[in-house]
């Protein structure tokens, strides 16, 4: 008997409390699940706050007036609520930024994926990541204090170009384009890189040059990824705030003149929240009406991008 004790001792010590372990497991599962549910709560919170304030906004301002007014003066005594004044500025700046980011980003993606050696790639990718990680307020500084004087110096010397104001849509759009270039580049590069090598080999076997292979075979094969990266970048550009607030000014003007100060939707939100927007005031409600417009625009773009990828993705196995 005494001989058996040492052998039995560890077994006697080992008392698995399975009930407690299972209880802990269930409690943890519920807690983690509720953490995951916070993401749904966030979405509901965004939709609810935007919806209810916008609803009370349209209780005061007719929806038709919101769409057809030709001025945006919600903070003045004579109020007009033409949202297209803000939308036109946002769209114009986004278009300028895409004109920068599409060629730059796409060519950089082609360069990284098709031309650069692995060593160069290893050096270039972190550089683009740094560019993507620069805070937007820094880009705002750059746009207002470096790019605008630079543009004034260069374009001011050319004939037929109107005077560039200190705040203008052009420099905001250009810098915004630089900001979204890394996004276009890295997402497009993923798409281009995943095109199978045998497609390129096939093109080479038919006697195509490298450029012909890239433009006629690789880029079309990666088209869904490229387009969706571009749409996501546009959606980012529309929602960008600091660059346009600092460099494009705060002057709601209808039209597409890139040389004068304009006011985007995001810049308006900053202008109102910087002051003390009292809850219940028309300024406070306008904030959320503009926010809803912005939210819907970016949401539509994001959904379109997801749909586009799913619909047009080329599958290679």
């Amino acid at each position: 008997m005494t001989v058996q004790t040492p052998a039995n001792a560890p077994r006697a010590l080992w008392r698995p409390n399975r009930d407690r372990a299972k209880l802990t497991q269930n409690i943890v599962k519920v807690i983690c699940g509720s953490f995951a549910a916070i993401s749904i709560l966030t979405t509901l919170g965004i939709v609810a706050t935007l919806f209810f304030e916008t609803l009370s906004f349209f209780g005061d301002v007719p929806f038709w007036q919101f769409l057809t007014d030709r001025k945006w003066t919600p903070l003045f005594a004579s109020k007009e609520f033409g949202i297209f004044v803000l939308v036109s500025a946002t769209v114009m700046i986004s278009i300028i930024s895409v004109l920068v980011a599409l060629p730059l980003g796409l060519l950089a993606a082609v360069c990284l994926s098709e031309y650069a050696t692995p060593q160069t790639r290893k050096f270039l990718k972190p550089m683009l990541e740094i560019l993507a990680g620069v805070p937007t307020v820094v880009y705002g500084y750059f746009a207002l204090l470096t790019v605008t004087p630079f543009l004034k110096g260069i374009l001011g010397a050319l004939p037929f170009i109107p005077e560039i104001k200190n705040f203008n849509a052009l420099s905001a759009g250009l810098v915004l384009g630089i900001m979204i270039t890394p996004m276009v580049a890295s997402l497009s590069e993923d798409a281009i890189f995943s095109v199978p090598q045998r497609l390129r080999d096939g093109a080479y076997a038919l006697g195509a040059t490298k450029r012909e292979t890239v433009t006629a075979v690789v880029l079309p094969a990666a088209l869904s990824g490229i387009v969706s990266s571009l749409i996501l970048a546009v959606s980012r550009a529309i929602g960008e705030t600091m660059i346009v607030t600092l460099a494009a000014g705060a002057n709601p003007t209808l039209g597409f003149n890139p040389f004068v100060p304009v006011m985007t939707m995001t810049a308006f939100i900053v202008q109102v929240t910087k002051g003390d927007a009292v809850h219940g005031s028309i300024a406070y409600q306008t904030l959320f009406a503009v926010g809803t417009t912005l939210f819907l625009m970016t949401l539509l773009l994001n959904i379109f991008s997801f749909w586009f990828v799913r619909r047009f993705r080329e599958k290679y196995d």
Partner: protein, 304 residues
């Protein structure tokens, strides 16, 4: 017979019609290669231009006095003490709140969740939330945290700012956590189950420690995104002129990006230089955080 003859007769002429035109095509090739290298070089040149401008403008006013002084109407006496303290406080809130929640949600989705409507809803939600502009989060923070939850947060305070940024970076942390968990080999889980451990015991004692460097890397990158965010903090109504360091979670505050924004928007050139100095401090903090993330990533890769 007749047709065969005509085909053989045509063959040489068809071959002669094919002009490879190699010189032209190779020229186009070269131009295209130059263009794509040029685009990459241009992007990097602009990055260097940006960094150089900020260093040239900001280095002259960057000294200890600048870091240890409060905001002032006189540029020579202005500094970032309150802004730096505010940023540290807000980041403390963000890190303390977002880490458990983000990692917990990531664990749930990757390890516990079955493929049902709830899981799919959460997944769609997270990818959608990642595309919502940051200023919309600011509006949510303004309505939900600063107004409705005012008894808890105290209005436009550090807590409000922190919680708003938590919601903003949550998708990033969840995605990073899931990726780190996915990289843990299943053999570790199988070994734990074979010894009779519950799923949670396996996760807590074996999977999480293995995935931790990856999770921490994602966490640092998420925080480095939050630290530069300006728009949501302005939207919740953070102050631009604060001459004291925060004393608690319910203290009103300003943050480094907001202080920079305020200085850039002023007409005097002296304030622009101060803004550049502030940017140098902000970018230095960012660089340190990213270096930490890269260090963790490398250590993680070595140990596997």
């Amino acid at each position: 017979m007749n047709t065969d003859h005509s085909v053989t007769e045509n063959l040489p002429s068809r071959a002669s019609q094919f002009k490879p035109n190699l010189w032209n095509r190779y020229t186009q090739d070269r131009i295209f290669a130059i263009l794509s290298w040029g685009a990459t070089a241009l992007a990097i040149a602009i990055l260097i231009w940006l960094l150089a401008t900020i260093l040239i403008d900001g280095l002259s006013t960057l000294n200890w006095n600048f870091i240890d002084s409060f905001a002032s109407r006189k540029p020579e006496r202005a500094g970032i003490k309150a802004a730096l303290a505010g940023t540290l406080w807000v980041m403390g809130v963000v890190a303390a709140v977002s880490f458990p929640i983000g990692v917990g949600a990531g664990i749930y989705l990757q390890e516990f969740a079955e493929d049902n409507w709830f899981t799919r809803l959460v997944e769609i939600n997270i990818s959608n939330l990642a595309g919502v502009p940051s200023i919309i989060y600011g509006l949510l923070g303004l309505a939900a945290f600063a107004r409705i939850l005012e008894p808890i947060t105290g209005g436009r305070t550090i807590l409000t700012g922190g919680l708003t940024l938590v919601l903003l970076i949550m998708p990033v942390i969840i995605v990073a956590t899931r990726e780190a968990l996915r990289a843990v080999p299943d053999s570790i889980r199988a070994a734990g189950f074979a010894l009779g451990a519950t799923q949670w015991q396996v996760i807590w004692h074996h999977v999480l420690p293995t995935a931790m460097p990856g999770i921490l890397t994602g966490m640092i990158l998420a925080l480095s995104r939050a630290i530069g965010e300006t728009a949501p903090l302005i939207a919740i109504g953070a102050a631009t002129f604060i001459a004291f360091t925060p004393e608690g979670l319910q203290s009103s505050f300003t943050a480094l990006p907001i202080q920079i924004y305020d200085w850039v928007g002023r007409p005097q050139r002296e304030f622009h230089d101060l803004a550049a100095s502030g940017i140098i401090v902000l970018m230095a903090v960012l660089l340190l955080m990213n270096a930490g993330a890269i260090y963790l990533r490398n250590r993680f890769q070595k140990s596997r």
